[in-house]
Symmetry: C2
Subunit: 118 residues, 2 copies
Amino acid sequence: MDESDALEALAALAQPTRLNTFRLLIASEPDGVAAGELARAAKAPQNTMSAHLSVLANAGLVRGVRRGRSILYRADLARFRALVVFLTQDCCAGRADICAPLFADLATCRNSGEAADA
Amino acid sequence: MDESDALEALAALAQPTRLNTFRLLIASEPDGVAAGELARAAKAPQNTMSAHLSVLANAGLVRGVRRGRSILYRADLARFRALVVFLTQDCCAGRADICAPLFADLATCRNSGEAADA
DNA sequence: CACATAAATCCATTAATCTGGAAATATGGA
DNA sequence: TCCATATTTCCAGATTAATGGATTTATGTG
């Protein structure tokens, strides 16, 4: 993930329909959702959703594979993580003091998914 | 940080001059950088940079305070962290399995700022 | 006050993005 | 083969974003 990749990913997510679609796809991992169902969920025409999916796919954030007559889209979680890491590296590089509160914030998120554990 | 805030922040960062300016401002915390120096650093005309700073400021990612004749801009780290948390919550909510690799990725970043520690 | 510096605002031009109708392509079934 | 379904591609109009010249506002200095 270089700067150009990050810019493309940020631009892809900086659009309401695409952000919501991507969130839905993350929530739908690892099953994926067909293009038509994504269009219905977003209340958008099929060709409009297709254009949005193309933007997300070009940014590497989603991928579609044909499954019968449908094309099943899935979020690329590794790519998404790479984006988050790219962003956080800006504040972390040699500046853990600045970045530390981020780990505190994320800790809540982390624990919410773990059963009560050490 | 609601969805609308996140969209504005993403759009603000999805532009080369603004992303680089924001990264410079993070690196310059807590001192800040004057608007004119930011324009020089980005090799952009002063009014163009002013427009970009206005976008970043409206997104809450930076803030400018007058210091003599200059206006000193600083990154709003809390807001930036809120954006990262907003993004990661999508994959973390009840799905720690999906999100776990993110913490592994960020751990490198975390340790790079800490002196060898437990 | 007169002048220089720093940044924002105004404005117009250009470029990019969003949107959706219409047509094309791909798959599966009778 | 013929038809229905699912999705993409093509294309054009409408909206929004980026850019930079000229001007204006704000501040500091002599």
